[in-house]
């Protein structure tokens, strides 16, 4: 586990993430469609486990494990249901509480945007740690924060690039997110594996 300085290799990680996505594009699109539809239909209650499912698939691809993940493997996220659900619930509630600040004229909205970006960057590896190392949501969040803290701006840059790529599909009435969101997951999975390394087999 790395908690010191990390060399953030933008180009290399984005390239590897794109390759992972491109090689399994059909599986990614269907899995992403399932994840988004179920998350929206359940008012966000299942966002955590569905995202955990996508993360699980990305990690299996990064580790080049056989058999390759299938579209139904998005439901593997339910193996981490409680922790992923709590991760989304607790941080969602915290963000909602912080968003009250936006009621303050002028500065309020700016503060909320800055805090939101900082939180997203600090927690970018939280769900990966829950899925990969089977950690509880709070230690996973704190570990992610500790790793990101000394390398905040490089990781912020990586997250911004990944999110821009991942959300560019939103231009097409939001439907394109189904196609582009898994690219962001793949890029972050490659980054996670490079930062945290491969865990020894149990």
């Amino acid at each position: 586990m790395t908690e010191g300085k990390v060399d953030v290799k933008f180009g290399e990680w984005i390239q590897q993430g794109w390759e992972l996505y491109k090689a399994n594009i059909g599986v990614w699109i269907v899995a992403s469609l399932l994840a988004i539809v179920i998350s929206v239909a359940t008012l966000g209650i299942l966002s955590g486990p569905m995202m955990a499912g996508l993360v699980w698939m990305a990690l299996v691809l990064v580790d080049r494990k056989e058999p390759k993940p299938q579209m139904g493997d998005v439901f593997k996220g339910f193996d981490y249901f409680l922790q992923s659900f709590l991760f989304f619930l607790v941080w969602g509630v915290i963000m909602l509480a912080i968003s009250v600040v936006s009621l303050i004229p002028c500065v309020g909205t700016l503060v909320v945007i800055v805090v939101s970006i900082v939180l997203h960057t600090a927690l970018m590896f939280g769900l990966f740690l829950i899925v990969d190392k089977k950690m509880e949501f709070w230690p996973a969040s704190m570990l992610s924060l500790n790793v990101v803290k000394p390398n905040f701006f490089p990781f912020l840059g990586l997250l911004v690039v990944a999110m821009l790529i991942g959300h560019v599909g939103a231009i097409a009435c939001g439907i394109g997110v189904i196609v582009t969101m898994p690219i962001a997951v793949c890029i972050l999975a490659v980054a996670y594996r490079n930062v945290f390394g491969v865990q020894a087999a149990a």
Partner: protein, 122 residues
């Protein structure tokens, strides 16, 4: 490192709990929420009894949570509906009475003015 969990098969009750839980939220339907809760509890107890033979704890818990959320949402919707049904007629009555009350008030004022005028004239 092994991220893939080799597991026992998922119990069908857990899958049913998840499907019914999602359907109960989508259709806001109590007859789907209650079976979701029942299936969720049954699946959890079955998994606890035979952990080697059955899995799907996460799906069962998801079904349970969505079932309970649906029930709570429906109860809140019923309470809101009853409160609305009780208050709206009173509000409508108040609105419809407002011009009449204003008219009565104006008539009273006119009456006072006429009385004063007559008193002053004398």
């Amino acid at each position: 490192m092994n991220t893939v969990q080799d597991q026992s098969p998922i119990t069908p009750l857990a899958i049913w709990a998840l499907i019914l839980g999602i359907a109960s939220l989508v259709f806001c339907c109590l007859p789907l929420a209650i079976p979701a809760i029942i299936c969720g509890h049954l699946a959890r107890s079955r998994i606890e009894q035979t952990p080697a033979a059955a899995s799907g704890r996460g799906m069962a818990m998801a079904g349970l949570i969505m079932g309970y959320v649906s029930v709570v949402a429906l109860i809140l919707a019923c309470i809101l509906g009853i409160i609305t049904a009780m208050t709206i007629p009173a509000i409508i009555k108040m609105w419809s009475d407002t011009p009449r009350n204003e008219c009565r008030g104006n008539s009273g004022q006119c009456q006072v003015a006429i009385t004063n005028q007559q008193g002053g004239g004398l």
